[in-house]
């Protein structure tokens, strides 16, 4: 411990401030990142300092090679048509004496200060965001510690020239007094400028001194992030987004000059160029409302709200984050500057349907008094990037805008006036999403029964049984299941070691009884097998010769293969005890299943250039008769890249099968599961231009957009004409709309003001307008079950209670409808999600669910539908699905 030296008199001193941390905390406080800050703050300063009709701001990128040969970039931001940084050059003591308040026109001191307020200014804009944005992007070399440097020179109307220097090392340091007049001019244009002897930094500014009144901010050692943003136009895009309105009315002009001297001006986004609000537009896709007075204060009014819808507009590509709206909504322009956007998705989801959001644009601006009011720190964040939405004034403005958007939406015919729709609450959406994930997304990692072990070996298993009557799976008490034989197969072949093969019985209530276990050795063919002899079906207890079946009904003879105690694969055979198995269905005996997956990232629907997708097509025969059919399948590009001529430079489609003959056996005996035959299992690569090298794999050249896989099966089977058609939309270099591609539904809460419709069902599933969108699943919060459940929420202790339970029930019910909708057209792809999932699941609930689903399919396709049994099955499936959801939550 250091002992204080009491012999010296003590005094109060300013503590060292870590300016680097301070600046980082200011800039990271910008909701939309540091590049927005760089585009916003310097322009805002210049605009505020405007003294002629227009302020011109130039962002210029310079390339410098430092004395040690190290390449570096420097950014200068120069304004003209402004007043320059004038006023006296005050030191900290002088400012302190004034109580930290500066007078109008004392711009130099205001620029150099940190956290001071001008006498005529509100608190905003005085935290030093302008210089923070400049310093932040400077990474001075050396020491390993973050250091920031900026310089600024100004030419004043009286001809005075000033050059200031500021750095953070990390201590905040400013040169006082600044360099003046000729010294300043010489240093700016000199080959070498020593920033500070103690800092050990020398830079080649080599700039021409300013010749017109104005200010220049010089950022040496420009960060690579800023250089990249300049070169890839991100900075230009931010400048446009922030300042297009000020540019449009001629307040400012912004240009960017690159290292080659090429100069470009920032323009107005094309959708706002027409300025339709200045003319009496009759275009029904445009909406203008002016002079909207606020009820709370008639002196405050919204000057103008302009909305438009253009179907040709592409969805806005976000610069920062999808969750932060940019052009995609109503831009709030305060003082001709964009502050934030009320998002079409986030704010107006009720009024602007998802498929219209890409083409929806809007902006709002305010009369002077309201504009000034909004600028205060009470409403606007110091970063000028959002408003405090809890404030009454902001709420009122939002309400006014929402009612205008509603009016526009109704005029467009987007919403029904009597119906009030909104996305489900976040909590309910999460419940729905988690429930659907259980069905849609296969579990990650290796689960028991998935058929794959940790070493990457795929296991197959088959159980063969001779039934007493070879035409049926019915077995009566006292009859035998003979020559039971279990064989497992590995791929790639594993030809060493042993596995355990086990058989067991499962009764109609899913209770298991082990019958026999055998050890088997893998041979050269990668297979292991065991014979389990015969089993007598009887009422008593199971053992190696007896299968206990105490009651009538559907039993299963189960086989498993396991290694080191882990189940690797299961297979089973149905055994109908003392009763006939159900007859095969009369209709939909042949169904199709198509799956398209992204081989690079199975959870991503979008396919990027050069990536592979996998097309799996299989056909199912649920009848007892063999079928001979034909298949066509092709992947069709909706458009080729513009430089390619379809059919000459590249084909417009890729044939995967043309009139391909398919033979598929019928089931051997009644009660057995359908026979499935894989028809296509093929990877296909997608390119946006003809690939340079020869690709051995199948590929298709297409332009970015949506393309289609078409599969048709046709022929005749059991006297019925088979014509099955299905297609899948492929998203190439574009994302599917909303959460389509991930989830089948979008949960939407729908209230109605029409009393007669209160008795509407609790949920309703509709087909989407676009084939690649999610199905809208509407639920009614006015339904009495929901209302009661919602009230129970107050006492709910777990996520399974209250309205959440209702949402799960709705999801389960709707999922069954969704699966069956495709089945009606002969497409079993959706049903297969349940069947595949059951193959991978450990517990028997999934197996039971799969059986119920298969039975539901079969019964609904039989001539004499047993309505009661079908309804009961439906209830069982829904109940099982809800249990599955709850188990997953647990």
């Amino acid at each position: 411990m250091t002992v204080p030296d009491n012999t010296q008199p003590s005094s109060y001193q300013s503590t060292s401030t870590n300016m680097v941390h301070l600046i980082e905390s200011i800039i990271t406080g910008y909701k939309m990142g540091a590049i927005r800050a760089l585009a916003q703050e310097p322009v805002q300063n210049s605009k505020d300092a405007k003294r002629s009709s227009i302020a011109k701001i130039e962002y210029r990128l310079h390339q410098r090679t430092l004395a040690d040969g190290y390449p570096s970039h420097m950014l200068t931001i120069t304004d003209s048509g402004t007043s320059g940084l004038g006023g006296p050059i005050l030191n900290d003591e002088e400012i302190d004496k004034r109580g930290g308040v500066l007078n109008p026109g004392e711009d130099w001191s205001a620029f150099e200060g940190q956290g001071y307020t001008k006498a005529n200014q509100d608190a905003l804009g005085s935290r030093g965001q302008g210089k923070s944005a400049s310093l932040y992007h400077s990474y001075a070399r050396g020491t390993g510690q973050r250091r920031m440097v900026m310089l600024y020179d100004t030419l004043l109307p009286d001809g005075e020239y000033r050059l200031g220097v500021r750095y953070a090392s990390p201590r905040d340091t400013v040169r006082r007094p600044p360099y003046l007049d000729e010294t300043a001019r010489e240093l700016v244009s000199a080959d070498a400028f020593t920033i500070d002897e103690g800092l050990g930094l020398e830079y080649l500014l080599k700039l021409n001194p300013l010749t017109t009144v104005g200010t220049r901010v010089i950022m040496p050692y420009l960060s690579s992030e800023a250089v990249e943003a300049f070169n890839n136009y991100e900075l230009a895009k931010w400048l446009q987004m922030l300042w297009w309105r000020a540019i449009q009315v001629g307040e400012i002009e912004i240009s960017l000059v690159d290292t080659h001297g090429a100069s470009r001006k920032i323009g107005v986004p094309k959708w706002w160029r027409s300025q339709f609000w200045n003319a009496s537009s009759t275009d029904e896709n445009q909406y203008v409302k002016t002079n909207i007075y606020l009820k709370s204060d008639p002196n405050l009014k919204i000057k103008r709200l302009a909305l438009q819808y253009d179907e040709n507009l592409e969805a806005h590509q976000h610069l920062y984050d999808q969750s932060e709206p940019e052009y995609d909504g109503i831009q709030i322009m305060r003082g001709l500057q964009w502050i934030e956007t009320l998002g079409a998705k986030q704010e107006y989801s009720q009024q602007v349907p998802e498929e219209r959001r890409a083409g929806f644009r809007g902006f709002v601006e305010f009369e002077r008094d309201l504009d000034r009011e909004l600028r205060s720190a009470e409403y606007e964040r110091p970063q000028h990037d959002s408003y405090n939405r809890r404030k009454g004034l902001i709420r009122e403005i939002r309400d006014e805008l929402a009612s205008c958007v509603k009016e526009f939406s109704e005029r467009q015919g987007w919403v029904d006036e009597d119906v009030h729709q909104e996305d489900a609450s976040e909590r309910e959406r999460q419940i729905a999403s988690r429930a659907l994930s259980v069905l849609v997304n296969p579990p990650k990692g290796k689960s028991a029964g998935s058929g794959n072990d940790h070493g990457g070996t795929a296991w197959g298993l088959d159980i063969q049984v001779d039934y007493p009557n070879p035409k049926t799976t019915r077995v009566d008490w006292g009859q035998k299941l003979s020559r039971i034989y279990v064989r497992c197969q590995t791929e790639p072949k594993r030809d060493h070691g042993s596995v355990t093969l086990k058989i067991m019985s499962v009764d109609p209530d899913n209770k298991r009884q082990e019958i026999a276990t055998k050890r088997a050795y893998l041979g050269e063919d990668g297979a292991a097998s065991a014979e389990f002899g015969d089993l007598l079906v009887m009422i008593g207890k199971s053992d190696q010769q007896h299968m206990s079946c105490p009651g009538k009904g559907k039993y299963r003879l189960y086989a498993t293969v396991s290694d080191a105690g882990t189940d690797l694969k299961r297979a089973s055979r149905a055994v109908y005890v003392q009763e006939d198995p159900p007859e095969p269905p009369d209709k939909k005996t042949i169904t199709l299943s198509v799956k398209v997956s992204n081989l690079e990232d199975p959870e991503r629907a979008r396919i990027n250039n050069g990536e592979r997708l996998r097309v799996d097509v299989s056909v199912k025969n649920r009848s007892d008769q063999d079928a001979v059919l034909h298949m066509n399948a092709s992947l069709v590009a909706s458009e080729l890249p513009p430089n390619l001529v379809p059919g000459i430079d590249a084909p417009i489609s890729l044939s995967l099968a043309t009139k391909k003959k398919i033979k598929i056996n019928g089931i051997e005996r009644s009660g057995e599961p359908p026979v499935v035959k894989q028809l296509i299992s093929k990877p296909v690569r997608l390119f946006n231009d003809i690939p340079d090298s020869t690709i051995s794999q199948a590929y298709l050249v297409a332009s970015p957009g949506t393309h289609d896989l078409h599969v048709n099966i046709y022929g005749e089977h059991m006297g019925e004409e088979i014509k099955i058609s299905t297609s899948r939309r492929i998203h190439f270099e574009v994302d599917p709309p909303g959460n389509a591609g991930k989830m089948p539904f979008e949960l939407i809460r729908q209230e109605t003001t029409d009393e007669s419709r209160e008795a509407a069902p609790i949920w309703r599933l509709e087909s989407p307008e676009k084939s690649d969108a999610s199905y809208p699943l509407y639920y009614s919060p006015q339904h009495h079950i929901y209302r009661i459940a919602e009230r129970a929420d107050k006492n709910a202790k777990t996520l399974s209670e209250g309205a959440n339970a209702v949402i799960r029930e709705i999801i389960a019910d709707a999922y069954l409808d969704w699966m069956h909708e495709a089945h009606r057209t002969g497409d079993d792809s959706r049903y297969d999600t349940i069947l595949e999932r059951s193959d991978q699941a450990e517990n028997l609930r999934w197996r039971r669910l799969a059986e119920q689903v298969e039975e539901f399919q079969r019964m609904s396709d039989s001539e004499d539908i047993e309505t009661e049994r079908l309804a009961e099955l439906r209830r069982q499936i829904v109940a099982n699905l809800v249990c599955v959801f709850e188990e997953a939550e647990a």
């Binding site: 230009a236 920032i266 592409e314 066509n632 513009p642 379809p646 044939s655 099968a657 009139k659």
Partner: protein, 254 residues
Amino acid sequence: MPVKLWQRDSQGKYTSRVVTVWDRPLGGEEYRAQAEELDQRLDDVLDDALARLESVKNVDANIRFKRIWCVGRSVRESGILHLTALRTERRALLWRAMAWKCWLGTRHDFKVGSDPETRWRTLRSSAQPETKNKKGGVRDLFETGFWLQQQELADAVFTFGGRVSNVREIDSRTSINSPAMRTALNSWLKALPAEHRELAHRSSNFEKIAKNLRARWPDRGFGAARRPEHQEPEELLDEVHEVLDPLVMKITER
């Protein structure tokens, strides 16, 4: 793309701006150098198309038909579509730029006092070009010509009877606009007696031909998975006969 779009203001002054279908904060101007290069190449394309049109003046076909074929072929042979500037854009802008060049007669180095190239007007209809892309997915005539030139002129005239409206009937239906189908259609027409062929080429009848073909080779639903380009030429021709012979019988019976 960026393309240089020539225009003339209300005072009659010629101006140009660089446009791109993608929204750019700096407008298309950031690509002016590429657009200028393209503009210069387009001079050659249009001159070539003019010469080509002159060389086919004796071909018996509608002038609109011949000129869109000539422009399309000149574009194809010029290789401009492989310029870097055109790789990621839609062709619609290129057609608009060409249409304005034809309308105003502006060569790439056009200055005050230069004489406009008035001969280019014969490559385009007499109407002033659109200032925006057409709504409703209607293809530009030059796009149709670009598609048309995939066949040699004589074959194209034979297939479509030298009528642009017939070209559009097939070109606008994506599932039947492949070269394979056009070849088959050409062969089918060859098998018809001359007077039947003439009837088939009438606009109202050709529309029926296109519709029947599309019904057989739809772009969605059952049948969409088997495209004409996936069939053997003989098999395709047989099916075209199967679809169109009854139709032509009906037409000629009237």
